[in-house]
Amino acid sequence: MSAEQKKDSIVHDDLLDHNYDGIQEYDNPTPSWWHMIFLGTMLFSVFYIVVMHLSPITRTRYEVLAQHQEAALEKQFGELRRIPLGEEKIRKALENEQWVAMGATIFEERCVLCHAEGGRGIQGLGLNLTDDVYKNIETAGDILNVLTNGIGTAMPSQRANLDDNEMALVAAYVVSLRNTNHPQGIPPEGKPIPPFFSDTPTEQPASGG
């Protein structure tokens, strides 16, 4: 910075000959830090546009989202992810208490609007899932059908809301609710069905023996 410029950035409080209704103005320079920061924000802007829009390392917000989704899936489901949707997947989910608990969380997010907390049911909206009778299913696998396709206007399909893993977890939770007989449960509706997993070959001792 030359001496001349330095002089220019000093506050002298020299009055200009301006006078507006008694208001006068000083000929003071704009503070140099003001210029510096203003310039800094401009440089930042150019830098930001180049890095975020024009450089090869740029990832779109959709790519970032996809990466987060993948990481979250792996964290949540691990090996469960690799089992195709079906009874086997539910059985696998039931082996792990944490997965059933996750099923309960999903249930809380998506299902309590009609089935109420703990699956006790709401008259006219959702069935009691804690008793021993069922209206729309006969096997655990049927729960997946109900989730996927819904039931007429009574229950919406969850295909857009839940992925395969989440469906299996909710189904596992619903399986676990059977016969827990919620004290505030609404009256049962439907017909008795055989115990879950009773007709498929499993490694369970009961059917394996």
Partner: protein
Amino acid sequence: MASHAPAAASERPGAPSRGLESFTYDDAIVRLFAWATVIWGIVAFLVGVVIAVQLAFPAANLGLPFTAFGRLRPLHTNAAIFAFAGNSIFAAIYYSTQRLCKARMWSDKLSRLHFWGWQAIIVSAALTLPLGITQGKEYAELEWPIDLAIAVVWVGFFGVNFFMTLIKRRERHMYVALWFYIATIVTVAMLHVFNNLWIPAGLVHMVKNGEMPSPELVMKSYPIYAGVQDALMQWWYGHNAVAFFLTTPFLGLMYYFLPKAAERPVFSYKLSIVHFWSLVFIYIWAGPHHLHYTALPDWASTLGMVFSVMLWMPSWGGMINGLLTLRGAWNRVAADPVLKFFVVGVTFYGMSTFEGPMLSVKLVNQLSHYTDWTIAHVHSGALGWNGLMTFGMLYWLMPRLFQTELYSKKLATAHFWLATIGIALYVLSIYAAGITQGLMWRAFDETGRLQYPSFIETVVNLIPMYWIRAVGGTMFLAGAVMGLYNFIQTWRNRPEQYEEVVHQAPALNPVFEGQAEQGGFFSGAWHRAWERRPVKFTVMVLIGVAIGGIVEAIPMFLVKSNVPSIATVTPYTPLELAGRDIYVSEGCYNCHSQMIRPLYAETVRYGEYSKPGEFIYDHPFQWGSRRIGPDLAREGVTNPNAFWHWQHFENPSLITPGSIMPSYAWMLKAKLNFNDIKGRVDAMAMLGVPYGPLVEGENAVEHARRQAAEIAFEIESSGGPLSEETQDTKAIALIAYLKRLGTDLYKDPTTVNAQNPFGDFKSNREVTDAHD
């Protein structure tokens, strides 16, 4: 006058002397605007307190249609912006412009027309908004007849009067306050016109069907823009309403009243020039920062962000010039309530113009958007900057207008402290609420699932903070009431008759007879020359403010890749359209967004992120800006149960314990005007929405009745009331709309005919004909 010291830019001493002219200032009009400021201010603050209490205590919605939060919140914002701040800037402009121009306002008649016209607009806003008559765009809620009135009053009365006064002025150069007033008038006119281009549905109905539309339909209009484009235009407007209604005129106010009250010269003329031009040029680009991570293309979002960051210093230029003008007067700040208001007001300006750029950085915005953080930010601006500057001005102005001493300085000081502490309580509690809720929305537990999956958990947490906010707001209101009392007492001490001071000044020679300034670009000499030419100055401002909007808007309208079309997106059915209009009318957008951002925490909570092509029939867009309740973009996918919605409208807190949503039980009884649907469909068809055969005869009505019967039957079969009792209610239409939201994306493209989706519609008449 003594002000004409001989110097480079003043009139040459040797020039032929022009006769002195005598004139007086019109202070009566300033008195009117000043009173209106105080009175509307109290109304705006009072409504603010009411809606603040409603959030903490939903029973305060009273279950009535016109007292629900969704209808009152626009009343609060419009009253605060256009009634309180509006009258305040008019008082400031009418007082200072006359003195800065050494000229009475050009036309007393226009001044009165402006005043009474503006008050009539405010009253019509206060009547229509609680009645649910709204365009559904934030701060542009007023419907089309009022829009027209605003354009006439703003441009025809105010603008003409102001610019003619500039032209007839007796002061050669325009002072910086006037530059800011010029920018205010031209830019607000531009924003208002381009954001309010609409088609009135009632007129269309009358012309097309030859029937008298219902009053409701007469007042209804649809913006010509839809979806992404409407969002861009709206936030170009919305952000610059803050810029050119709440910032530039208040900077003009500051530049006149602060040096007057401090009796100190303005710190730096050079800074005035640089910060004025950089501010007006940069501000206009910043709008898209309200739409980060939405379906707005990323390039526009980035422009909004970087220009907001660059806006930091231009804004601070105003703060620096204000605060440094007080050098040497700080001892007086302790004694003078006027200066106290100004110092804290300018400081709040500095804080919120630092915070604004910060919030516009995408990463910060990820957290802050849709939360109360934004509400805290705007209130530090509105209460701190606009509110305190206004009251500072009024305490200085009232004794001068009433030609007596201020009734009580002590009371004014008490008002200052009450207001400042009130703002602090308001802002701090709502910062805490905003950050808390933002963090809760994105919190995951150790299994990788949302920690607070149910939205209501994130709401009930905020209630204590909402109470503190209501207390802070009440303190601010109480301060204003004290101000009103102080002003009334001052007014009562006015003289029998106001003394009318006669001023004298020579008329300006149309040709500048002085010596033009010499110097390079950085000397500012060129600017001194502009200050002598109001018309040129105005044109330059207009060019400066037009560029940003043009660069952002034109590609958004012309380049197709900005809104890629989706094969399964079709227009709303007539009933859904009527339901959507109810959604708009009830102000649902004040609490619910319809925009899922492509962020993992959001797609997990609400479903697939929103795509630009999903909104092409949304006139107006309803993306919202705050999630007091959950997002509804995929409501039709996640919660299409009609009976659930029916019961939820009746009593939200019964279905969701802790819910702060008002009851809409009245809507389960209110009848939908099916005949109006024709006008609604016809107006949309005029905007290019492919309604095919539905625009003919009674087809739209028939289509709507059929769909209503289906939904009513669904409710009945779920155990709800009989369908005959429900199928003609407004609630059914709204439920039809909610069931539709976000579902198009999941439809099978092979079964959807997007070009002519209603092509296979057969009216009952045709069906009967076929049977014959």
